[in-house]
Structure formats: C-alpha cells, structure tokens
C-alpha cells in the first residue's frame, strides 16, 4: 500500500510540475502576444482605471519632465495625457501614434501609463 501511495505522489508531482511549467510558458507567450482592445479616448472614464487599453491618435503636445515624457494624444473624439517613463529623444509631436498602456489616475486626472508606443 505504501509503495502505491509513493508512486501516486511521484506521479502527481510530475503531472503538477509539467502543468506548472507548460502553464507558465503559455501565460508568458499569451502575455507577450495578446494586445488589449482598442478604445476611443472619449469612452475612457474613472471606471476604466487600471484597465489596459490601446488608442490611436495624433500627438498634439509633448513635454519632457525629469526623465518622463508627457504627450497629449487626440483621436478625434477627445484628448488624453500619456506618460512615457523613459528617456526617449525621439520627437513625437504631430506624429500619428498607437499607444498601449494602463489607465491611471494622477491627482484627479485620467492618464495612460504607456507600455508601448508605435509611430504609424
């Protein structure tokens, strides 16, 4: 009986380890390839905070502030401030861009914390 129990435990260990590794691998792959849904800026509100989204629009304003770049994006429905937490020398002003990021709140204003920005 003891032997059977041991066999069962080792099988369960192998199965769990395989599921853990395969599952983690799948989460990594999906996390890197699945993109959030595209939204219009006018549909973003307080309820959207912490949601990941994708928006497309024109950069109407750009400001560099101590290691941050703050850009204002207008998609024709509304404008929103987007924060790029990297030192990037590229000038986005008047460019059409696609932004992926998380909606955050900064002192009462809704912003997008950029995770990826692509010039279209």
């Amino acid at each position: 009986m003891k032997k059977t129990g041991k066999v069962k435990t080792s099988n369960l260990l192998k199965l769990s380890l395989i599921i853990a590794l395969v599952g983690t691998f799948m989460v990594v792959i999906l996390a890197n390839n699945l993109e959030p849904s595209t939204k219009t800026i006018d549909s973003i509100n307080e309820r959207s905070i912490d949601e990941w989204i994708k928006v497309q629009g024109n950069v109407t304003q750009e400001t560099d502030v101590s290691g941050l770049k703050i850009i204002t994006v207008n998609d024709g429905t509304a404008s929103i401030s987007c924060i790029l937490r990297k030192n990037v020398s590229y000038n986005f002003k008047d460019q059409r861009v696609e932004i992926q990021g998380k909606i955050t709140d900064y002192k009462g204003d809704i912003e997008i914390d950029i995770s990826k920005i692509t010039v279209l």
Partner: protein, 398 residues
Amino acid sequence: MIEQIFIALFLGIIAGTLTGIFPGIHINLVATLLFITSAFFLQFTSPIVLAVFIISMAIMHTFADFVPSIFLGAPNEDTALSVLPGHRLLLGGNGYGAVKLTTIGCFFGVLIALAISPFFIIIMPYIYPFLTKIMAFLLIAIVLILILKEEKKMWAIIIFLISGILGVATLNFMVIKQPLFPLFSGLFGTSLLAISFFQNVKIPRQKIKDIKVEKKKITGILGLSILSSSLVSFLPGVGSSQAAVISSAIKKIDENLFLVLVGAVNTIVMCLSFVALYAIQKPRSGIAVFVGKFLPYFTEQQLWLLFAVTLIVSGIAVFITLIFAKLFAKGIMKINYKWLCFTIILLLIILTPIISGWLALLVLVAATATGLVTNIIGVRKIHMMGALLLPVILYYLF
C-alpha cells in the same frame, strides 16, 4: 459632521466585515464603486466622510481577512503566508486560536503604527530616495537568504523561478483584470484545498481557547514587524507580503509567532500607507489611492482624524473578528470538510473569469500546479512569494 463621521465609520466596519469574510471580494472593488458614485454622495456629505468610510472598511477588512484564510484556505496576496501555519493549527483543533494570534498582531500593529507615525512623518522625506535605491538589492539578498536556509535548495530555486516568471507574466498580461486574484488563489488557495480534498482531511473538534505564546517573544516579533514594515511602506510595489518575507529571512520564527507577525505587518503597512500619502504625497496602497482622490490636499488635521478612526475601528474589529472566528470554528465541525474544500475550489474557479476574465483560468491552473509541487516537495511556501518579489526586483532594477 460628527454624526456623519460615525455613520461612515460603522458602515465601513460592516463593509469591511463582508469583504473580509467572503473570499474574492476585495476592498479596492468597494472603494472603486464608492469613487464612481462619489458625485452622488458628495451632494449630502464631504470628502473626509467618504475617506473615513474607506479607512474603516480597510482596517476592518485587514482583521477579518484572516478568518477565511485560516478556516477555508482561501487567501489573497496579503494573507497568503498565514494559510499554512493557520491550516496546521486548524488541523490541530486550534483554528480559533490561530485567528486570535493574527488579531493580536493586527491590533498591536495599529498601536505601533500610530506610535511611530510622527517619527516617520519627519524622517521619511529624507530616507525615501535612499530606500528606493537599495530596495532591489535588499530583496535579492532576502531571496538568497531564504533559499540558502532551505534544505532542498534546488527545489527552492525552481519554485521561486516558476512563481516569479508566472508573476511577471501575469502582472503584464494586459487582458487580465485584477491579476493577483487568480495568481494568489492558485498558489496559496486551491493547491492546499486540493491536497486537503484528495487526502480526505478531517477537521477535528475545534477548541475555543487561546494558544499560549510568551509575551516576551511577541514583543520581539512586533519589533521585527516594525523594521520590515518600515522598509516597505513607503515604496511602490512592495507591501505586507514582502515585509513578512523580509522578517522570515532576518529571524527564524515559529508558526504561532509568524501569525502574530503577519497580522502586525498587515496593519502597520496599511496605516503607514496613509502616513506616506501625507509625508511624501504618494499613495502606497490601493486604499491610500482612494483616500488621496477624496483628500487631494491631505492635511495634518485630517491625518490625525483618520488615525482616531483607525484606533476606534481596530478596537471594534478585535471583537467582530473573534466572533466570526468562533462561528467558523463551530460551523466547520458540522460540515463535511472534504466537500467544503471542493465547494471553495469551485467558487474560486467560478469567481476567476468573473473577476479577472476567462484567460485568468490559465493563470489559476498554472499557479495551482506550482502550489501542488511546493506542497508535495515539502519546501517552504514562502518561495512562491517570488510571484511578487521577482516583478518588484525587476521594477527597481530596470
């Protein structure tokens, strides 16, 4: 005004009891709902009253949250490390005593936090930039110490890495909402519940009595909780779970005292997050974010009012938590524990797509399997905190 504050305080206690007792309901969810509907409430009341509600709910929640963690094995990221010692005491008939230990920790945590707050308000603006620089290295050192202390070092590294990679991927999984819910339900909840289910664990008769712990040792643990909580309370991305891990690396702590420690760090970190909001104008907990929204110009007077609220709620929370612990202790003997485990696993599986989306089920499965490996191998569950530690280390390094 004072009547409104007391009404908000009691409503907060009711809300915090419900969010604490029922697994899967996070206080941030209630705070978000309040924020969305705040325009309506602000017609009748002021922002400070809404902040009082949120803080009362948060403090009550912190106390009551340990009841389902210990009795049902359904934790969240803050209470995860209490599950195993709590479960062992439950199997020894001491579930009530286990909750009492976390409650003692929570209550003294509040007193400690209030006592050290004036000191932190003065020194925080000066040491905050330094802490930001050393945090990654401190956490790496902690992880190494924990692995080196483990007998099965290779397994400890494997568990840390699987949990860490899963944590990093899940936190960056853009289509999953509330990513910590499936992650921690799997790592620390469903995995232990599945083992209890398959091993046909029987819950013995529960004793409604205290677990004896030396007062001197409790004092030592509370001192340790001050140190670890202070390190994490002012920085983004780190919280009570990291504080508990830091404490474990510093000193070998027995299971009973560990429950006191987890309780204490939870309330200290929660209280100090309000101090951080005042001292460095940065919210360091989900709840502090909402307090900051309601009180954008957080004054010293408001801080002291919120401290008074915290103190009153803590006193009441002790009694409410122990009442629920008694009810759970009596109730759990009347039900078939095997099927209770099955029901909670089913509940977590149903809640996962509702709270976090369908793809979160994949995270739940991978996390559960990682938890099962940890349980079968017999290494400490603390290595699964890699799910939070690795993302934070990477955040501070890059």
